[in-house]
Every structure is written in structure tokens, then in C-alpha cells.
């Protein structure tokens, strides 16, 4: 079998899993040839836990130029994603970036431009796009059977983290180290799914509370209001301090309602479109009739493994990706807009003023407790 020779940059966290999954043959079309980490302890771990013939690097650039690999997975801290992706593509490699695409869209836009001009495959690890319930939601919304979206409400407060999580790395939850809190770290999946299923908002008004529940610099509690091009509105609520948290994603459409909660997708389908009913109905208090059902899905949520398989298939056979790397900018734009809205205490329009965001972020980086950028 034709295999893609791959190297993993950053084996401190998710990269550890990627390396092991590939080494164990869980993605048959990927062959782990190299790993890279700046921390000698992690290379020590690799020596013990990965096959002997996997070459260890302490410098990503050297790995990219080693001729040992066709593709790279970037699983480093967020700020390093774009420069490493750019370097890897420049070395003629296909690239899979961990989420988020980066910390600020200005940097990510530059990465996207380079990726778009190259003939290499550029993917992003939006593994939650493989979830059967979110796929079904997208399928229903895209089908237009339910008409246009009127309202989105995602309460995703089940990202509980206690202080010890934040204390586990000096870079964690700092402006210089991560460039944000729950929005950029935990919610990068949710913000991607939100735009993937419901499209991009055009205006955002957010209330981000920094260090509200934990001794951290960045936000751990966010409530955001959004407006869409067609007049629809949305609310996004998240926190790392609610227990037990809620994960309930409601999409109200002209033809009914979708509610994803507790591992089920509830479908409420109207007999007649709301807009028509509103004009035709003559009984003031009467509501349009509807049918409630639980969505039938394929039940599959293959997560990271499928994303990696599709990456290999894209390289070898031009198979479609689960998530194109350039799409990473969308969820990040929403995240950046939420931060900026909260910092400026006003509504922010999308597309974002990238320079303004970066200058505001830099102010925070300059007073950050750590200076590792």
C-alpha cells in the first residue's frame, strides 16, 4: 500500500495521541517517520513509546528539511501554528494543523494565502465535524427543507476546568502563551461547528469575563450576541467553571427547530412554513402544528482518526478533507470578534478589523505574566 510518510511537531499533548495512533497503524495510509519536540523529556518519552525507527528532532525546520517525510502534523502551542504551517508548506510538505488555526486572523490569513497558492494539502483538525449529530444538523440546514435560520442558541458550558488544569503549564491561559482562554482553546471546535452549520455572523457583541472563576489572565466566561446577514440572531454562552455544565445547541428555522442535547438531535418540523402561517392564520393565539422526532443518524463519530484518514486519502487520491485548513480562519474570526467586542465594550462587525484586533492583543501580551511568544 502506498503510504504517506509523516512527522509530528509537538508531542506534549495532542501530538502524543497522533503519534501513537499512527504508529499503531490506526490510520493505514499514514506511516510515522519522525517526531519533533523542543522538550528533551518528550523526546525521551518518544524513545520509550514509539517505534525505534521514528527519527527524533528537536528542531521542526530540520525535520521539515530532512527528506524523511511527505507531510507534517502541527500540534504545538497555538501561536506557532501559522509559522510552522508556512515553513512546512515551503518545504513542499502537506500539512495538518491542530486547532485553532492560530491566535489572530491577520497571521492566519497570511498562512491561508501561502497554502492556497501551493499544491499541497492543508487540513485542520476539526474532529468534531465528524460527529453524527452535528453532521445531521448541517445536512438539515443545508437541505433548505426548513428554510432560513431565524435564531441560534448554543449554551456550551460543559468545559469545566479546575485551577490545577491552568496551573499545569506556565503558558496556559495567558495572553502571551495561548492568546485567549475558553474561546480559543476549548471553543475553537464549537465556533467552527457554529459557522459550519449556521454560517458566519456579521456582527458580534460579547461579554468576556477574564479570570472570573480562576486565577488566570484570560477569559473563562463568555456570553455573546450575534447578528447574521439575513437578520437572524444568535447567542453563544460558554464557561470553564460551570458544573455540571450544559451543552445545548438550538437552531430555530422558518420550518421548525433543531435541538442537539444529551447525545440526541431533536427535530421539530412544522406542517407549514412559519412565514406563511403568520399571514394566513386568523386565530390570534394559534400556533403552527409540528411533528417532533429524534433524528436518525449513522451513529458514527470517528473523530481524529477519520480526520487523519481523510488527510491521507486527500494526499494520495484527492479525496475531500473533513476540514480544509483555510476554513480555520472562520471560527477564529468569531473568537477574535468576541474578544475585540468585549475589550472595546461595543459591537464589532465581521469581517474583522485585523489590525485593531492585533494591536489590542499586543497590549495584553505586553503585560502578560509570561513572555514566551
Amino acid at each position: 500500500m502506498n503510504k504517506v510518510k509523516i512527522g509530528v511537531v509537538g508531542i506534549g499533548n495532542m501530538g502524543t495521541y497522533h503519534s501513537k495512533w499512527i504508529a499503531e497503524g490506526m490510520i493505514p495510509e499514514l506511516k510515522l517517520c519522525a517526531v519533533c519536540d523542543t522538550d528533551p523529556k518528550r523526546l525521551e518519552w518518544a524513545k520509550i513509546n514509539l517505534p525505534e525507527n521514528v527519527v527524533k528532532f528537536s528542531d521542526a525546520s530540520a525535520m521539515f528539511r530532512s527528506q524523511l517525510i511527505d507531510a507534517a502534523i502541527i500540534a504545538t502551542p497555538h501561536y506557532q501554528h501559522p509559522p510552522l504551517v508556512i515553513d512546512a508548506i515551503g518545504c513542499g510538505l502537506h500539512v495538518m494543523s491542530e486547532k485553532p488555526a492560530g491566535v489572530y486572523t491577520k497571521q492566519v490569513a497570511e498562512m491561508n494565502e501561502i497554502a492556497s497558492k501551493s499544491d499541497k494539502v492543508f487540513a485542520i483538525m476539526y474532529n468534531q465535524r465528524t460527529d453524527h449529530l452535528y453532521r445531521k444538523m448541517k445536512e438539515i440546514v443545508d437541505s433548505e427543507e426548513f428554510g432560513q435560520i431565524k435564531r441560534t442558541i448554543w449554551i456550551v458550558t460543559n468545559w469545566y476546568r479546575s485551577q490545577s488544569y491552568y496551573d499545569s503549564g506556565g503558558w496556559r491561559a495567558t495572553w502571551a502563551g495561548e492568546g485567549g482562554g475558553v474561546l480559543i482553546n476549548q471553543c475553537s471546535h464549537n465556533l467552527d461547528l457554529l459557522q459550519w452549520i449556521c454560517g458566519m455572523p456579521v456582527r458580534v457583541r460579547a461579554f468576556c469575563h477574564e479570570g472570573k472563576w480562576h486565577a488566570i489572565e484570560v477569559e473563562d466566561d463568555v456570553t455573546a450576541y450575534m447578528e447574521y446577514e439575513n437578520g437572524a440572531t444568535g447567542v453563544f454562552i460558554t464557561s470553564t467553571a460551570d458544573a455540571p455544565g450544559t451543552n445545548r445547541f438550538e437552531v430555530m428555522l422558518e420550518g421548525g427547530k433543531l435541538v442537539c442535547e444529551d447525545g440526541k438531535l431533536h427535530i421539530f418540523k412544522l406542517d407549514v412554513n412559519k412565514r406563511e402561517f403568520n399571514l394566513v392564520n386568523r386565530e390570534g393565539f394559534k400556533e403552527p402544528a409540528f411533528v417532533h422526532s429524534i433524528a436518525e443518524t449513522d451513529g458514527q463519530s470517528s473523530q481524529h482518526i477519520e480526520v487523519l484518514k481523510s488527510f491521507a486519502a486527500a494526499i494520495l487520491r484527492g479525496h475531500p478533507l473533513i476540514a480544509d485548513g483555510v476554513e480555520g480562519i472562520r471560527g477564529l474570526s468569531i473568537s477574535n470578534a468576541m474578544h475585540l467586542s468585549s475589550w472595546l465594550d461595543k459591537t464589532v462587525s465581521l469581517p474583522l478589523d485585523e489590525d485593531l484586533f492585533l494591536s489590542e492583543l499586543k497590549k495584553r501580551i505586553s503585560t502578560s505574566k509570561i513572555k514566551i511568544q
Copy 2:
């Protein structure tokens, strides 16, 4: 049995029900002696549908001064509530006002001052306070067993109304006729329950969309963000255009979570307080354990009848009211704050700047399609 002789002002809508319930003896301690309406057709209705000995008035002031009654129920359009309450109390009557207390707090504050100085019973028809689930929520929050509130989220979009409802009266959904839309009309119960159970917010940032889904002057779609004195935040979402709507009220507390939806109150009780767990736990991703249960309640939701019974009992025996009339200002303050925040496009603090609100309301009344105030 000692009975309170009562008169009802306004028998076009809720007053019709109150009159019939009392006439039918459903509130044994109230005796219907008079009704009043400015519309001759409604008095015609009264002639046919109410006992012969119920005296009909076309002028409320005349009824108040008739010596036929000890107490009055005010069930007129919103703007008239405060002046009628003031007049009735001035005539030495006990008063039950329909909700809302009024349209703007300046007027309601004046009413409250007069009511507070009198020795008459002043009540307000917050019948949803009798609902067993909301009573249970209040009981749990008040008990402090779950500690302080961290977050409130009420999605109450199940107030569907079609255009024909708004077209059923020229005064409906106009600034001059009703002084607001879904907030003041449909949500006066929800905003009262919100403050009754969770307390008053101190800051409000709202996004009210006027005539968004219907051909009306006032708001039919609202998303509001709130902040409480203790740092807790809240979201309130309502609309008269969602179908099927949602009614889901979540209260996140230090010791767990309450979720009221679909006729059930879900209780999620942590084994240990979140604040302690956060500091003590050493496993970053671990969440505090909890027990989920469905609240056991008395199942009673006696609504208007109980509110009227307690009103009679308060007059005859000093029994506590379901809702003291002066408390009507609280939910109205939140409603006014939401309107004002949206009109000014900024965050508004509570207590409200009543003069500013009134001047903004007057601007809208002056261009209102009807001028009935």
C-alpha cells in the same frame, strides 16, 4: 361567610374571566357586585353573562365612589393601571391590578408610594408565581443549599402570535396603546419570575427588534444580557415568532444546576461546592460529581383563582398575598431597562433612569400610529 364585595374595571379580556369566576363562586370570599367598561358592547355582554344584580358602570370613578364595593380588580389596558389603582385606593378600596403594573416605572413608583401609605391591600396578578415548578425553584434558590447564583438563562420563545392577533385591536403592539411588545405584554410574568427567583440584575444590555416578524411598531424579538450584583450573568431570550418555541429556564449555582423545561424541574446537585472543588482538585480535567433528579413538588398550579383567593384572604384576615402590588415595579424595571438599552444601543444600569426612559418612550408615542393614551 364574610365576603369582599368586588368590582371589575375592564371586561374586554382578562376581566371577563375574573368576573365569571367570581360570579360562579369559584372564589368563595369574593362577591361580584359591579363591573365597568367604556365599551357598550362589553356591558351588553355583562348583561347576558353575569348575574342580574351585578351593577354595570361605564365610568370607573363612578364605580369606585358607588359605595357598592370594598375592592376593585383593574383589568384595563396597561397605561391605565396606575391611575386607576391610585383612584381606587383614594376611594378607600382594596385593589388587585392585572399585570403589568404599568408601562413605565416613574408612573408605577408614584402608584406604589400611594399604595404603601394607605392601609388598603394592593395586589398584582402574577398568577405564574403559583406554578409548582417556579415555586420549587424559588424554594431551592432561597434555601441557599446550592449557594450563590452564577448564571441564569431563560429562553422563553414560546409566545407565538400571528399577525391576526396583533390586528385584533388597533391599540395592540403600539407605543401609544401598549407601550411595548413581547416584553411588556407576554413576558411580564417571566420577568417577574426571573427577579422573584434570582433577584434583580444591576446592568442590562438588550437587543430588541421592533416589528421584525410582524407588521407592528413594538418589539417582537429580544435578546438581553444581564449582570447581577454578585457578578453572576444572565441571558433572556424571547420572541412571538418562533414555532415551536422553547421555554427553558436554567439557573446555575455554586452547588449545582436547576433546569425547568417541558413541565419538569431537573435538579443537578454537586457533591461538593464548585468553589471548593476548584481549589482542592488536582486532576485538571476532572469535574465535581453530581446527582441528577427530577424535583418532587406538590403539583399544584392554581393560577388566577389562588391569586384572587389570597387577595380576599388578605383583606379579610391579613393572609399573605401571592404577589404584593408594589412588587410589580421590579419586573417592569427590567423590561424598561431592556427597552432603554436597546434604544440607546448601550448598557443600562438599574435602578433605571426613569426620566430618561419616559422621554424616550414619549418620542415613540408621539409617532405611534394610534393616539389613544
